[in-house]
């Protein structure tokens, strides 16, 4: 195989793996945080405003790890620097 197809293949496989592996942890963590917040709201309905606000902020921070993986996957697919390099120096 020439280097262009190797780079393309590896990029696509790694992009899929990045999303697959990188979404496991945040999904588990968000589910756990959500269930704890629901328990807390059920026990203290008066504090639901504070709990919900903290939950949203916390969920967004947990989710940012998954977003980083997503950004990496998008860079690999749409804006791959090695792909551009190879296209310029080998293909051109």
């Amino acid at each position: 195989m020439d280097s262009i197809s190797i780079i393309g293949m590896v990029s696509i496989i790694i992009a899929g793996l990045t999303i697959a592996v990188g979404s496991i942890g945040p999904a588990l963590g968000e589910g756990r945080a959500l269930s704890q917040a629901l328990i807390a709201i059920a026990q203290q309905p008066d504090e639901s405003g504070t709990i919900t606000r903290t939950l949203f902020v916390g969920l967004a921070m947990v989710e940012s790890t998954a977003i980083y993986c997503f950004v990496i996957a998008l860079i690999l697919i749409f804006a791959n620097p090695f792909w551009d390099y190879v296209i310029q120096h080998v293909g051109g």
Partner: protein
């Protein structure tokens, strides 16, 4: 498919490019400032409010209330900065549903600029509260060995702030674009509505995180002082029963 509105260039002269991010940012700024100028032109404080003045009062008082609840301090000193961040991000995210408009927050340049504002604002507010020495001293607490970690933490949370907003908004519009080629009719509308929710939540999260960073930079020292006082009180209390025995 364009991953970033930076690549859509409307006009260019030598090294000056006017791209979609700039134009749509100006559009959002114009909508916000002209809209609020039109509304605040004739304010009244009687029992009869115009409908738009009522809207603005609701927005401003909601932001004030959220700031006071999150920072437990008077909202006045934070209101301008946090409110501006929130209104700009939420306006650009909501205007994203208009066809042809690309949210400027879906470009990494805009979000990096906003996060840099927060990065500068943290020492600004901290020095204004505690003075230069008091602010800088919390970098070497608890020990001077923590200095590089504190600096790295400050940089990385700025990067995280920028990439979080960029990733969320950009992924929303990109998912809609991908779905348009798969299931063209109904499902993209659902995802667009979901993107609206995400946009508002992310604007809220950005503003609250900026507020938390600023407030933590301001009261890092005073909080430690109160903790130290509490500890001394506790230790005195714990010593008293021993002395009685």
């Amino acid at each position: 498919m364009e991953i970033s509105p930076d690549n859509i260039i409307f006009w260019q002269w030598q090294f000056i490019h006017i791209n979609a991010t700039l134009v749509y940012s100006w559009l959002v700024i114009a909508v916000l400032s002209i809209g609020s100028w039109l509304i605040t032109r004739n304010l009244t404080h009687g029992p009869e409010l115009s409908r738009w003045q009522n809207l603005l009062e609701v927005i401003v008082s909601m932001i004030q209330q959220q700031i006071e609840e999150a920072s437990r301090q008077p909202s006045r000193q934070y209101l301008h900065f946090i409110g501006t961040l929130f209104l700009f991000i939420v306006a650009s995210n909501i205007l994203d549903v208009i066809p042809g408009f690309t949210a400027p927050t879906s470009s990494l340049s805009t979000t990096t600029a906003l996060a840099s504002c927060v990065f500068v604002a943290v020492p600004f507010f901290g020095i204004a509260r505690q003075g230069l020495k008091g602010y800088l001293s919390h970098y070497i607490k608890p020990t001077p060995f923590m200095l590089p970690f504190n600096i790295i933490g400050e940089l990385s949370r700025t990067v995280a702030l920028a990439i979080r907003l960029f990733g969320n908004i950009m992924s929303g519009s990109l998912v809609v674009a991908i779905l348009l080629s798969l299931t063209p009719l109904f499902f993209p509308i659902v995802m667009q509505a979901f993107g609206l929710l995400i946009g508002v939540i992310q604007a809220y999260v950005f503003a609250i995180l900026a507020l938390v960073y600023i407030a933590s930079g301001q009261r890092a020292q005073s909080a430690e002082e109160t903790e130290a006082n509490e500890e001394t009180v506790e230790s005195e209390e714990s010593q008293n029963p021993n002395s009685k025995n």
